[in-house]
Amino acid sequence: MLDLAIFGQHLLNGVLIGCAYALIAIGLTMIFGVMNIANFAHGEFYMMGGFAAFYLVTLLKLNYFIALPLAVVLVVVLAVAIQQIVFKRLRDAPVMTTTLVTIGLSILLEHVALLLWGPQPQVIPNPFPTRPLSFFGIYTTPLYLFSMAVTAALIVVGHLLIQRTRMGKAMRATFQNREAAALVGVRIDRVYLYAFTFGAALAAAAGAVLGGFIPVEPTMGGVATLKAFVVVILGGMGSFVGAIAGGLLLGLAEALGAGYFSTGWKDAIGFFAVILLLLFRPEGLFKRA
């Protein structure tokens, strides 16, 4: 018998996590699309966003709602530095170089975080009441709803920025044909910088928002990167809309797969999908052929 409340709960879990996956994956897919780099260090921005928010709230005693955007700002500053120091040099570098450098960077950031903040998992204190809310037997909390709303809002805002703004259009143009973009006067290094920091900002936002219920710790970035890669492949490498759809799909697939199939193998679902897609449908699931 299918218990509807439980089924609903799985769906809700899937959407919540799916939004987070999407938010992290958007940046990864953009960096991939615009710079042609598979950034294995992307998840570290998610981790650093979480830590930044945690320390702003606990050490500086900042208001939670001020700390969240401020945390993103801090990570953006760092992302700009990383872009200028490292990623700038990766322009037109072979796949081997970019992959190795980003893997190295990921280890570096993880261990610097470990040195600075220790291995202890931290939960960002937040002003939301912890008492769960229930609708028809489906439980959630104000914080979950807030997180879902913020991630969804950021996804929409990100989408609008990419679709409507001058720089957003320049990014898409650069992705679709870099030389043509250069020939209308788009400064490619500027586009790289914007795409990279924008992606880092979204990942950091995910870390800051989710850090209220998924503890923040130095190793979380690596796991997030792998999931984000799965999402990017599902959605098609470089596709913004694909990353959103892919994120939700992976979140739901994992939630339902774990709920009705096997929790131990839930992570394998995505990786199998990745292999099959890259072999047979590299443009992702959502692109019209």
């Binding site: 218990d3 439980i6 709960q9 799985h10 879990n13 919540l16 996590i17 261990h111 470990l114 220790g118 291995p119 202890q120 998992p121 931290q122 939960v123 912890t130 769960p132 229930s134 439980y139 959630t140 909390t141 914080l143 979950y144 219920f213 998924i214 503890p215 710790e217 190793t219 979380m220 796991v223 994992e254 939630a255 774990a258 709920g259 929790t263 131990g264 839930k266 992570d267």
Partner: protein
């Protein structure tokens, strides 16, 4: 005049340090990095604090004790490398540690090879003491021993029949799932669900939802701090109000602080909790609060047991000689933090107390004590 005095002071200090070079070296392998680094660091800091205290009181065999600490990262290969280095290069006379059972399992082969006694007070995988390794000792109850001691008490303690497991997917979680059901069922309970989470998970909503569908009266968990915090919060957030019973860090200060209200009412099945009443513990708690600014956790308790049992053996051996220490260890009859500890023929500790503690107003209160029977 003054300068001459300071020269004398320096000369004295040099002489003292020269004398101190004759030390008894004990090697420690714990995860200082990696997924369980937090708890590994607690262990290391506690051992360091206790050794400083012992040295202040004259050390052992008239020598200072010197700790050499290496990072094993909860990774078998790294732990092996660390142990090799400690034994062959630092010439330690005894090894403490490895946190994760897999690391201890790998490390004990090094101990056997080099004939150096190796004591763990944390790794609980049952098969560790089944390897016929005369150099390996375990000063902690295994999960099956805990299960045998307390499993039967659980239905009465939580006034329920239906139990579900939500445990980490490793030797610990799996041995819990294989050893607890029998005593529970014997006491009239039943198991209605079993879920294993991965150590890389910090988001448990699918597991919890699945457990919820089974509608248990209580959930039995195996998790250390980082998982325990996320688990208890997320379980409450999905509207499950049933009691939680955990092996692991469920009564440690770090957990209680991080989990906040979600920790209220949680039961911990532990080998040590800082609220037990005895003079050794009172002194230990006082020292920890002063030096480490924290109430000792279960891992601090393990550290206390480990270093005391080892130093006690060295003292009884009468020499800093690995073979003699090993022989002395087998004859351990140590009365300490959690009662009396001896080793059986497989070098497995027994006789100590274990506790069922319930978190009340943020403080773990002992609700039941049991003694580990000789296996």
């Amino acid at each position: 005049m003054q300068s001459r005095l300071s020269v004398a002071v320096i000369a004295l200090a040099v002489a003292a340090s020269a004398a101190a070079q004759e030390t008894v070296k004990i090697g420690v392998v714990q995860p200082l990095t990696g997924p369980v680094a937090y708890d590994g660091n607690i262990y290391v800091n506690t051992v360091k604090m206790l050794v400083d205290d012992m040295n202040a009181k004259g050390g052992v065999l008239g020598k200072k004790i010197e700790l050499v600490v290496e990072d094993g990262a909860c990774n078998p290969a790294q732990s092996v490398n660390a142990a090799e280095k400690l034994v062959t290069r630092d010439k330690v006379v005894a090894l403490l540690g490895a946190f994760c059972s897999t690391s201890s399992a790998a490390m004990m082969e090094v101990a056997r090879k080099h004939k150096v006694p190796h004591l763990t007070a944390i790794s609980t995988a049952a098969q560790l003491t089944e390897q016929n390794n005369p150099y390996f000792f375990r000063a902690v109850a295994t999960t099956p021993m805990l299960g045998a001691a307390f499993g039967g008490e659980l239905p009465a303690a939580v006034k329920g029949k239906r139990f579900a497991f939500l445990v980490i997917n490793d030797d610990w979680g799996r041995s819990m799932v294989s050893s607890y059901p029998k005593p529970i069922e014997h006491a009239g309970g039943q198991i209605v669900g079993t879920e294993f989470f991965q150590s890389s998970d910090l988001q448990f909503l699918p597991y919890i939802t699945k457990i919820k569908a089974a509608n248990p009266d209580a959930i039995i968990l195996a998790a250390n701090t980082q998982h325990a915090v996320a688990l208890s919060k997320q379980i409450r957030e999905l509207g499950i109000t049933k009691p939680l019973i955990g092996e692991g860090s469920w009564t440690s200060d770090s957990y209680l602080k991080l989990a906040g209200p979600a920790a209220e009412g949680v039961y911990g099945l532990v080998e040590y909790v800082y609220t037990i009443k005895n003079p050794i513990n009172a002194a230990f708690v006082k020292m920890s609060r002063e030096k480490l600014k924290d109430n000792p956790s279960k891992f601090a308790g393990a550290a206390h047991n480990a270093i005391h049992i080892m130093v006690d053996a060295i003292r009884r051996a009468g020499a800093a000689d690995p073979e003699k220490i090993r022989a002395a260890l087998t004859k351990t009859d140590y009365h300490g933090l959690v009662g009396n500890i001896r080793f059986n023929e497989k070098n497995q500790a027994y006789g100590q107390d274990v506790y069922l503690a319930r978190v009340t107003h943020g403080v773990p209160e002992v609700v039941k004590t049991a003694k580990i029977a000789k296996p």
